[in-house]
Structure formats: structure tokens, C-alpha cells
Symmetry: C2
């Protein structure tokens, strides 16, 4: 680590006063002070900062506060001000999700998170998924609109947060954002269409730091904005940020980080190597396919379990409201409960004899009644169909196969060799590993190895705002990763076929999974 | 020299087309092409250029023209365009003088100068000298006005030049300007007041390259503008540019470069070392003190000589018009002619007996009639007074003393050791060395050593626009120079006293100077 990195981004700087013996120019005396006192060898000073230097130096009697930041090429002098105890120096860390955006305001001096909020990505107005948005961005007008919506969403929410903690947007000097490759492009107003069509070319992999006002962000007029780099179209800055947050790249023994979702993103490695892949696991994992699937809100079933005495299913709902649907982690619980209570077989098909009156058939499709009409919050019974279950089976099989490909086939390890199993992402933090193992979605390893990271993308962005050394670490992570293309070949399909069983055709892989007798 | 420097600033670049095997992002493929084909290891790409990259690459089938430039930190990608045979890539080189500005348009591809013009520095409207302008710039409004006037002057004249050669200001991608430290500051809109008051602190020594539009220059919207660095308040970018143009820093044997004028600036050195100083020689050298002194225009006396047969003075005028006054170089000729024809003595005082009826006295001051009333273009006789002559004597003595201090006392050389005597500046190019030696203003060395450089400041700026290697050379020149403060101490005053004689108290220094018998 560089000495300069220890000082954070807000520096108290004593600049040598000019004399006939030392009549170096103002700008160069600031550079000398940054070198001598902080260890910053070279720094870019934007023209508008140069303009204010003589005035600030005179007014502050040469004792100034300097805000610095970094870029690929090195340090940037973001601003200099006359010290004032009341002045705040803030940064905004952001996880720029396709669906949801989460932002935090960080005090750059105390390194504390002051406040946090989240909001729907306003681009949802154009289209819920990235494909419809990229289609919309095919001309400059559409691209500008998408970019404007996102930036405006940031501006509005940042103003709200500032009001709540009684600060000004002018106090915000730095911004660090992490998103997938498409969100990063749309945030920066860069053409995204190459990302989704062969040969899958982003406009940029390493955007670095850009003046925030160029992007339309209403922060301090001198503020800089850093976007995490991506590795390619399918491995975005949010994952690089997540690895930074997990410290995977610093561990002695191999560990894994998994972001479970429609697109499953997986990184395996340690301080010596990192391999990564991403693959479609399917929306079923997030409860996004079935009729009853919904995102978390009051009344949504969030856990399902088996009453060992009655062998019947039990559930809880958010805020204990009458059930209205089921969320993704509830679906995984439900599948596990159905399997453990032997209401589905190892192929994931309903066993009529074991379901008794909970099962009915309609238009040749089996439905399992999870909630009776009288207990339901919707006035109708809540059911899961064989079709819903098949989707989940495919998704969990895809998830397991991706893990197997990268851990066994690529890294040449056994699952039990992994020291930590980090589960990243908001969705991941709700998954009960016990259930996920029971259905064969996650490997049967010691439960204490599972560690929930939460929003690791936001965590990495926050880390960057409190630790300048993170810049070099990001570069090292990016350069060190080997990205594996998941070719869906014959071998993958064979592995996938085995994984479509509950928990797997090879039962010996899941010794701890035992159905209730 | 770096390989990359050989290619100039306009590059024909074949970017690898994307494929499933090479799906690096567009921006990074441009960087790879710049590295592989041109040898540019790292380059800054501004955000607005990043935005246009995907479009230009697709439209040009990945064969593009790239305009690059340099800064202190390294290369900058100024613009990329789809190749078009009709498109011009131009640069503007400028000498930003306190009084006069000279600009050239350079074709960056053919490296030819296309057109040149000069104009009065529009800041003269505020004040003719730098002191009055700095006083005016004491508040932001005044500074902005001064900066605006200068930039507007550039914009108007550049538009005019473009019209004449049938090109657009949009074709101008690069700007290189050299001026003294104060002009550099006013051009950049930077506070200049520290430069003239103790301890003489510029705002900046190394301004580097700035986006031209930030300064208000109306060139291509992506154009960059480089200002030559200064060494301190009294050693400006114009001199660094002049040294670059003279190649002084590459010569095997010591040479000297002198910019003669109100402020005499002198550099002595060779490839191993450079010493420089600047000192007030006085406006008399430029003909700026006497009543009859004026700048070059029709009717101004530009040469004066002695008719060996009659021992009388003869003169020529610009465009052979009836004489109206005398320019600076004419003044030096005049003093030499007066001395060689023994009309003044070694102290520079008129010898009544030798002047005969050409001399008259008025209010106790002697006047020498250079042009009779009947030959004059003004209707009055044109005379030089003893007071005028005394000023010239002081100035020529100051000039010689400065040369002696730097060559003998500082560099420890004899004048005859100098391989080249470069005379820089527009004024310098009109000086007759023979006359300057006769009066003891320049040392008595072999006449073929005197070389007129012309506007070396403009020459250096032009060189920079045709040779990227010049950037490193400028840094080397700047770092390599030892700047000598000319302390006017007892020793200096002694040397100055000797130099106030014609040609000098020590006649042996000027063996070739012989008065006519």
C-alpha cells in the first residue's frame, strides 16, 4: 500500500509560503506539499481548480483542505478550500441495479455511512428489462432519455437524503457507482447496443473517473464520479465491486462468491487466482415465473417449513399479514419442504398419494394448495403448479451446474475445499441455505461456511470512498480474473441432467439431505 | 525519441474488429491499436470522445483517423473521425506578445505552415504595459475582461485566417501558444498579480494542455490548447519556446541566444547545460524613448551609415518614403555612425567641432540634426538629442553587461568561445550586428556567428505542432536551465560603468571597431 493511500481523500495540507528563496508557482507548491506531506508523486489539477488556487492559498494563509480522488492514470485534485469546521466533505456510493438503485451518503472524513436509501431504477418506465431499454437506446434521443432518467433519479434522491441529514449537494465531492455493464453504460450515456449482440462488445471496460457535472449529476460542481470497471458484457462493475467487498482476492484458501438470481454470477478464488463465470439460472429462483411469485411486501410468504409432527407445510408471511403470494426465497423453502415431506419425488413431480387433498388437477396440470381460500389474503387459494415447480427445478439445476462447472471442472476443486461460501445480493441474503441444499441448488457443505454479504456491490462502492488503496486493488482484481464462457455443450447438458433431480442423481453428493419418514 | 513521436498528431488507425475471440470493449481496442501500431502505451480519452467511439468505429469499418496530443501526464486522444479525404486537420501556433500577437495555421498532416497573421494584443485597450493590465486584473471582473479581450482577439483573427484559406475553425484541433509569464496567465484567465510583487509568484509554472473551449477559444469543440511552461515570473514560455526552436540545448559547443529588447533575455549553453537570465536593458534599444523613435512603418529610418568619402551620415527609409522618424535598429545604426564618424566621443557625448552645423543647442541640450526640414516627411527637422543618446548609452551598456555577467561571470567563458550567437525576436532580426558591435552593445566576435532566428517563440510553438517529441524536449529544457537572478550589486555596477563607454573602457575587447579618420 502506498503511504498516500493512508490519508483518505480529504487532506489537511500546509503549503510552503512563498519567499524570495522559494518563489515556485502556487500550483507547483501545492504539488510539492502533496508529495512531501502525503506522498502523492503526481496529480492532475483541472483548470478550474488551478484558477482558484492563488485566492484560496492567500485567504487560508496557506493551510488548506484538499479533496483528492483517483483515476486510472493517477491522482486528481478535486477541490481545495479554506478550512472551515462546519464544512462537510461527503461522497455518494451507489449500487446501480437494473431494477433497484441503492445509494448511501458517506462522510469522507469520519468514513461513516450517514444515510441510505433505495429507489426503483426510473428506466423501468421505458422497459422493465435491459433488452427493451437497449432497444429504446438504439438512437441518440432514446439513449439520452434513458441516461437522463437514471441521472435524474439520482439527483432527486440525493437531494432528499441531503435534506434529511441537513447537508447540501455542494458538500458531495465524490461519487462511486457499481452496476452491471449495461447499467454502467446507460449511467455514462454510452451506447449499449454492442453489449447484447454478437460479438458482445461494450463501448468501454474501464471508464475510470469522470467530472460529475458532465454526466448531469448535481453534486459539488468540481465533483468526480468513478464507475467500477467491467470485464466484459456479462461481468460487470457490480461484481468487481462485490469481490472488492468480499476480500476474496486476499484470502489464503479458495472461497466462492455467488450472486444468485436470474443471472447467476460466480467467482471462485483466493489471493493467487480468481476464476469467474456467469450464466442464466432463470427467473424461477427469484419467484419471478409462477403466478403466485412476487417481491417482498406485507403478506408475502417468506419462509415455508415442514411440521415434523403433522408432516404438513407451515409458512410465515411478512409482517404476519394474511398470505397474498410467495417470494423467491419462499419458493426455495417451499420446494425443499415439498421434497423433504415427500410430496414431490426426486424428479420434482407431485406424489399424489402423499399430497392427499392438497392436490387438484386442472386442464391436465397438477396444482398444490399452499394456502386455503379462507386463510388467503387474496380471497382465493394460493397454489403452486407442476409447471411452476418444473421451472424452479430447471433453475436450481442450472445454478448447481454452474457451480459445479466452475468449482470442479475449471478450478479442479471439490466443494468441500471451499473455505467460505459468500452469498451476495439482496435476494441471496434471504435464501435459507438449508433449503437450497435440500433441493440440490447449493452444495452440501458445512453450514457455517455460508456467509451472507448483502449488497456487496454497494459495499465495494462504499469501501472505495473510504480507502484510496481500493483503486489499485480493483485493477488487480480485474487483471487477475479469468473469465470462463459457459458453453452449453454436451458435457454441461449431462451435468445439468443429473442436477435436475432432487437433490441430485448422485445422492452421495448430499449426505446431509434426508427426507422425513 | 519514442517511436510514437514519429507519427505526428494525426494517425491513421486500423482498429481490430471485434469477434467472439476478441470481444474487448471498443475503447480498449482503440487503446490496443494505439499501442500496437503507434507505440502509445497509455492515453487519456475524454468522456465526450468515449461517447462517440462506438458510432465512429462502426461507420468507418474500424479504420479511423485519430488526432492525439500530449500533456505533462502523457498522451490525450483529442478526437476520432471517419476518414474523409477532404477533411483538414489543422493547428494554430501563437506567439502571445504583450504588444503584438502572431498566429500561424499549420497543417498537422503535411506539417506545412498555411498562413500567418499578426495583430495588436487587444489588452492594449486596457493598458499598454503589463503593470497597468495587472492592476486592472486585481478583481475577477477585470481579470475576466483582460482574458476575454485576448481570447476574442484570437477568435476573430483565426476566423479571418480560416476564411482566407477556405477552412473551418472546426478543422483546428490543436493550439500551441508561447508568451511571457504574464501573458500566459492572462490567456489562461489565471490571477497574475503575484508575478509582479515580491516574492514574485506565478499561479502556475507548467500549465500543460487544457480543453480549448474552457478558455473560450472557438476551435473544434474537442480541441486542446498547450501553453509553454515558464520557469518563473521573469522567464516565460516564449523563451522556452525560443530555446526549443534554436536547438541550443542540443549543440555540442556553448552558444548564446539573446532576445534584445526592453527586457533582455539571454540563454547560454549547450547539450550539457543551460544558464539563463533576464534584465532590464531599457526601451531606448527599441527606439521607444526618444521623440523621434517609432515602430516600423513607411518613412521610418531603418538604416543609418557613414559615407566614407564625405564622413556624413546617410540613411534609408522604409519604402523610400520621406523620413518621419527612426526605429530601434535605426537608432543603433545612428549611434554607431555617430561614433565611427567621431561625432560623439567615447562617453557618447557630441563633439561640437566634428558635428559642425548639424548640432544646435536648445535649453542647454545638444541636438544633432539627422534630417533637414526640407527633406523631412513631417515638415520639421528630425533630430536626436544628447538625452536620447544618453538613454541609448545606458541601454547598450546594460545589454553588454548582462551578456558579460552570464557568459564570463556565470558560465566562465570568453565571448569568442561561443559557437553561435542567436539573435531572437522580431526587433533583433533588424539589428545590424556590425553597428551593435561598434557601439559595444554586442561583443566583437566573428560576424558569421551571428544568426537571426526571427520570432523564435512562434517558431518553437510551430515546432511543437509538427513534432510530438518536442514535449519531452520542453520538459528537459525547463528542468535543465539554471536561472540566474541579476543582482545589481557593486560588481555589476562596475562592469556597467565600463560598458557605458563607446565601445568600452577596455578597447582591447573590440579590436575590430575602428573609427574613421
Amino acid at each position: 500500500m502506498n503511504i498516500a493511500d493512508d490519508n483518505g481523500y480529504v487532506l489537511n495540507l500546509k503549503v510552503t509560503k512563498p519567499s524570495l528563496e522559494n518563489n515556485t508557482a502556487d500550483v507547483e507548491r501545492i504539488k510539492q506539499a502533496l508529495k512531501k506531506e502525503i506522498g502523492i508523486d503526481s496529480i492532475k489539477i483541472p483548470w478550474n481548480i488551478i484558477k482558484k488556487i492563488p485566492g484560496v492559498l492567500r485567504k487560508s494563509d496557506h493551510a488548506i483542505k484538499a479533496v483528492v480522488f483517483k483515476n486510472i492514470e493517477g491522482w486528481i485534485l478535486v477541490d481545495i478550500v479554506k478550512p472551515d469546521k462546519a464544512q462537510l466533505f461527503l461522497g455518494v456510493a451507489a449500487d446501480i441495479g437494473t431494477t433497484r438503485v441503492v445509494i448511501r451518503i458517506v462522510d469522507l472524513e469520519s468514513q461513516q455511512v450517514l444515510i441510505e436509501t433505495d429507489f426503483d431504477n426510473p428506466q423501468i418506465e421505458i422497459g422493465p428489462d435491459v433488452l427493451s431499454r437497449i432497444h429504446y437506446a438504439k438512437d441518440q434521443k432514446g439513449l439520452d432519455k434513458l441516461s437522463f432518467l437514471l441521472i435524474q433519479g439520482f439527483n432527486l434522491n440525493i437531494v432528499e437524503l441531503c435534506k434529511k441529514i441537513d447537508c447540501k449537494t455542494d458538500d458531495i465531492y465524490l461519487f462511486a457507482g457499481a452496476g452491471n455493464t449495461i447499467m454502467t453504460h446507460l449511467f455514462l450515456g454510452l451506447e449499449p447496443s454492442g453489449i447484447i449482440r454478437e460479438p458482445y462488445i461494450p463501448c468501454i471496460n474501464i471508464p475510470g473517473s469522470v467530472k460529475a457535472d458532465k454526466l448531469g449529476l448535481k453534486l459539488n460542481p468540481n465533483a468526480y464520479c468513478f464507475l467500477f470497471p467491467n470485464i466484459g458484457s456479462y461481468f460487470g462493475g457490480d461484481l468487481i465491486s462485490g469481490i472488492l467487498y468480499s476480500n476474496l482476492n486476499k484470502l489464503d484458501n479458495p472461497s466462492i462468491m455467488v450472486d444468485v438470481g436470474t443471472n447467476a454470477e460466480v467467482v471462485v478464488g483466493c489471493k493467487e487466482w480468481l476464476v469467474a463465470c456467469a450464466g442464466a439460472a432463470g427467473p424461477a429462483l427469484e419467484g419471478g415465473v409462477s403466478d403466485i411469485g412476487m417481491t417482498a411486501k406485507p403478506g408475502v410468504i417468506d419462509t415455508v417449513s415442514v411440521n415434523k409432527d403433522t408432516n404438513q407445510l407451515e409458512y410465515t408471511t411478512i409482517e404476519n399479514k394474511p398470505p397474498v403470494g410467495i417470494c423467491g426465497s419462499g419458493m426455495i423453502d417451499l420446494a425443499a419442504a415439498l421434497f423433504l415431506s415427500q410430496k414431490i419425488d426426486i424428479r420434482g413431480k407431485f406424489i399424489k398419494d402423499n399430497c392427499n387433498d392438497r392436490l387438484f388437477e386442472q386442464e391436465s396440470i397438477d396444482y398444490f394448495i399452499l394456502v386455503d381460500k379462507e386463510n388467503s389474503g387474496t380471497g382465493k387459494k394460493i397454489c403452486i403448479s407442476q409447471v411452476d415447480l418444473n421451472s424452479l427445478t430447471s433453475s436450481k439445476a442450472a445454478m448447481y451446474t454452474i457451480l459445479e462447472v466452475i468449482v470442479s471442472n475449471t478450478a479442479g476443486l471439490n466443494f468441500k475445499d471451499l473455505e467460505n461460501f459468500y452469498v451476495a445480493g439482496t435476494f441471496g441474503s434471504f435464501i435459507n441455505p438449508e433449503s437450497a441444499i435440500s433441493i440440490g441448488m447449493l452444495p452440501d457443505i458445512k453450514r457455517d461456511k455460508f456467509k451472507v454479504l448483502g449488497n456487496s456491490s454497494l459495499g465495494g462502492a462504499t469501501r472505495l470512498l473510504t480507502d484510496p488503496a481500493a483503486f489499485n486493488e480493483i485493477s488487480r482484481i480485474r487483471k487477475g480474473i479469468t473469465y470462463i464462457e459457459l458453453n452449453v455443450n454436451a458435457e454441461f447438458m449431462n451435468m445439468f441432467s443429473g442436477a435436475k433431480f432432487y437433490p441430485h442423481t448422485d445422492k452421495s453428493r448430499f449426505p446431509s439431505v434426508k427426507c422425513l419418514e
